[in-house]
């Protein structure tokens, strides 16, 4: 349930601030310094960066201060600063990553359409993902 933020709550007290990674329900990944948290998992993130991942590439969009409503948080974790630089992922510019994302979204939509078509032929229908957390 909520073991995850019992460490971070106490980790706030260490001298070096820790970066945290937050995954939101709509699929966004935010990385920033967690400044405050409450019992609903509402978060205050400082110097936040929204990281978009596409394949092996990623791009960072600086966002500033984020206040996240707790119900939208999927998970929250600490980033090991040493391991952070140790990644096989490649950072690219914002424009490039946005373009990649768009392409990926398009491909996904097309495959989704095909799926729905195939299911329809078998007489099954899956509800639209509007109300579900899907990304």
């Amino acid at each position: 349930q909520c073991f995850i933020f019992s460490i971070t709550v106490n980790a706030n007290l260490t001298s070096l601030p820790e970066k945290h990674l937050v995954l939101l329900r709509d699929g966004r990944t935010l990385i920033g310094y967690l400044r405050s948290i409450d019992q609903f998992a509402n978060l205050v993130l400082h110097q936040t960066v929204e990281r978009i991942h596409v394949g092996k590439k990623y791009g960072d969009i600086p966002r500033g201060i984020f206040v996240v409503r707790g119900e939208n948080v999927v998970l929250l974790g600490e980033i090991d600063l040493e391991k952070e630089s140790d990644t096989p992922l490649q950072q690219v510019s914002i424009e490039e990553i946005l373009e990649e994302q768009r392409v990926e979204q398009q491909a996904k939509q097309e495959s989704e359409k095909l799926k729905v078509q195939a299911l329809k032929e078998r007489g099954l229908s899956i509800p639209r993902a509007d109300t579900l957390d899907e990304y």
Partner: protein, 704 residues
């Protein structure tokens, strides 16, 4: 009122004056508008007016103010609360608090309910304590201007308890003071369950959140009494005149259970009211409630940092190191430690409270099972005597005894009857949905089919619930007392019977004429899985019956299973059942399976049944199982049941004949080929045919 007067003065009967008077009215109306909404309404001296009002109606006035603020989310309006708080407090400072009639009365009503106890009695040495509270509290709150000026964070959350009392002490106090029956009868009806829950929920968490603290004080107008709910009770009791009582209830915002995410809140206050056991878990030092692994990590990191800073500063003492590291940290990162340790503890405590559970299996099934599996794995590893024992400590969550508390609906003082407010604890029917059953004529074929399918689905769901219950009985058995066990067993038996009836379609009193019900269930994927799970619980006859029904209808089921391919899940339970069956049953099973006629005289033109069976993986595997079992039985039995033996032999010869006829290409690949099939067939056919069979059925696989 002015307006009414003017209207009465110019009655509309008189037409000649009518327009004139209307014109006059217009002017008046403009004037009135102005007075109400426009420039005239602003009384420049609102502060004075406000103070006057405040003096007149001390507490109710503040409640009214709070009404607007308290509606929205508490955290967001923290600033406003503080503003009000500061103002209110400044008005409420009375030099000599002992003269405050409310406090005096409160103090007087409390003593009869007090129990002996060191801490309790110290609180109730009224004035001394109050003075103690007031001092540091007021100096901290009165001084700063409210929130819009960016005050350093420390001041935002002033120590509500005064320096002398630690938060832990307070909690002990409030908890212990709640033991027994704290509320005198005169006061009880005043405080609803909701508000009690809120207050106690707040006290519960070890401290009240700054906003809760403000909200509660809104009720009474003094933050001091809010800290001790009992004092609060007294004050509230005193001031609750029927009219003001109404207002005070509005002061507490409606959400019946404060933050809906805290499901534990309603039970907790109740439990603490009646639960005489203290809860030491709540007041552990700050790291104890961390998961052991996390705690270790955290300490490690702390150690590292300490070492780092020590080396940086080159100072010997730990303390010095800490201080300078602290400063350095502030220099590096001015936003660090925005949350005070106290606040973090507070959040952690709430999280721990949320983890309290009366029935962990019910609340957190997957977590429990996951950890059980892990433990089993590690225990198994240990058995092999491998490496050092891995420390696999679990986070111990406090277990609370489940307590029943009746829901008491919200009551307003002086009103008749109860409000029907629907909440989580008290769901109310909102819509009257009437079920209209269609007449027979309207139904078309498709609708009938659809309804039938729905019926089947409902049956499956019901049976599944029974199944889950039955599977759970073992665990319950272990947890139950000796006396309860026979009853549990009875229940279990009954449920198993019900399941079986559901499966076969209960017909009142008579033989089950048709497999239809069962077949319908078996057409649905969930139904098949469910049957596989139910089989172990059924008696041998019942299980055999199921097997027979399956065998009888196998081609149909195979056809229906084409997309799902779930039939294979039934193989294991079927084979288990087979091991318990006598030869006679096995024989009839084979007969059903192969759809072989009773006597060998009638040569069947083409055995489509058997063909279908053989072409399907499940069918073929099942056939093999049956044959193998029959062979085993025949080998073992001492030729006692001659009749059955003959039948078996006949069937076998027929079966073999059929098998020979079927083209090889059409055969499916079975799950497993039992080893005794070859010897089985060798009895009934000659060598040549045996060879044919061998190759066809690939009975010889590699090693012979």
């Amino acid at each position: 009122m002015f307006r009414n007067q003017s209207l009465e003065d110019c009655p509309l009967d008189e037409d000649e004056d009518a327009f004139q008077t209307l014109g006059e009215e217009d002017e008046d109306i403009n004037q009135f508008n102005d007075d109400t909404f426009g420039a005239g309404a602003i009384d420049d001296d609102w502060q004075e007016a406000h103070e006057r009002l405040a003096e007149l109606e001390d507490k109710p006035a503040t409640a009214r103010e709070l009404e607007d603020g308290a509606v929205s989310d508490e955290m967001e309006l923290l600033g406003h609360h503080e503003e009000n708080l500061a103002e209110r407090l400044s008005k409420l400072v009375i030099e000599n608090e002992l003269e405050d009639p409310a406090i005096m009365q409160a103090v007087q009503t409390q003593p009869p309910m007090q129990q002996s106890g060191g801490l309790n009695s110290s609180i109730w040495d009224g004035s001394a304590v109050l003075r103690r509270f007031r001092g540091p509290l007021l100096t901290q709150i009165l001084c700063p201007k409210p929130v819009h000026i960016r005050a350093p964070m420390q001041q935002r959350y002033p120590s509500p308890y005064g320096e002398r009392m630690s938060p832990n002490q307070l909690c002990n106090v409030s908890n212990s003071s709640l033991l027994g029956h704290p509320f005198p009868p005169s006061v009880t009806p005043v405080f609803t369950h909701l508000q009690r829950a809120q207050l106690l929920g707040g006290a519960q968490a070890g401290r009240m959140s700054p906003s809760q603290f403000a909200r509660v004080s809104g009720l009474v107008g003094s933050p001091l009494t809010s800290m001790n709910p009992k004092l609060l009770q007294g004050r509230v009791g005193q001031m609750m005149a029927p009219a003001s009582g109404f207002r005070a209830f509005f002061g507490a915002p409606p959400p019946p259970a404060p933050p809906s995410s805290q499901q534990q809140h309603p039970p907790c206050p109740g439990s603490h009211l009646q639960n005489l056991r203290p809860h030491p878990q709540m007041f552990r030092p700050d790291t104890t409630h961390l998961h052991p692994q996390h705690r270790r990590l955290l300490h490690q990191r702390q150690q590292q940092n300490r070492n780092q800073h020590r080396s940086l500063n080159g100072s010997a003492g730990d303390r010095a190191g800490h201080r300078s590291s602290h400063q350095e940290q502030l220099r590096k990162d001015p936003y660090a430690n925005l949350m005070l340790q106290r606040e973090k503890d507070w959040v952690s405590k709430i999280q721990m409270m949320q983890l309290q559970s009366t029935d962990p299996y019910l609340d957190d099934f997957y977590y429990q099972n996951y950890f059980q599996k892990l433990e089993k794995v590690s225990a198994a590893e240990e058995m092999h005597g491998d490496g050092p024992k891995k420390e696999r400590t679990k986070l111990i969550t406090p277990q609370v005894a489940k307590l029943e508390h009746a829901y008491k609906p919200v009551q307003f003082e002086g009103s008749l009857g109860k409000l029907t407010v629907s909440s989580v604890n008290n769901p109310r029917k909102m819509i009257d949905a009437v079920v209209t059953s269609r007449s027979e004529d309207d139904e078309t074929k498709e609708k009938q089919v659809r309804d039938k399918r729905r019926q089947t689905l409902v049956t499956i769901e019901k049976t599944y619930s029974l199944l889950l219950d039955v599977e759970d009985y073992e665990r319950r058995y272990l947890l139950s007392l000796e006396g309860e066990r026979p009853a549990l067993m009875e229940e279990r038996k009954q449920k198993i019977c019900d399941m079986y009836d559901n499966l076969r379609g209960k017909t009142p009193g008579q033989e089950r004429p048709s497999d239809d019900h069962f077949v319908q269930i078996m057409c649905i994927r969930k139904g098949k899985r469910m049957v596989a799970r139910i089989l172990p619980f059924l008696s041998t006859e019942q299980a055999a019956d199921i097997l027979m029904a399956t065998a009888r209808n196998l081609p149909f089921l195979i056809k229906k299973d084409a997309q799902d391919e779930v039939l294979l899940c039934l193989l294991r339970p079927f084979s288990l059942v087979l091991y318990h069956l006598p030869l006679g049953t096995v024989t009839s099973l084979l007969q059903q399976l192969a759809n072989l006629p009773q006597s060998a005289t009638v040569p069947a033109p083409a055995n489509l049944h058997l063909t279908a069976v053989l072409q399907n993986k499940f069918g073929l595997s099942l056939l093999y199982l049956v044959l193998s079992r029959g062979e085993e039985l025949q080998n073992s039995s001492a030729a006692m049941e001659l009749m059955q033996d003959n039948q078996w032999t006949e069937l076998m010869s027929m079966a073999t004949r059929e098998l020979l006829r079927i083209p090889e290409a059409a055969l499916a690949k079975p799950v497993s080929t039992p080893s005794n099939l070859l010897s089985l067939f060798s009895r009934y056919v000659d060598q040549q045919k045996l060879n044919v069979l061998e190759t066809k059925l690939q009975l010889v696989q590699g090693i012979r």
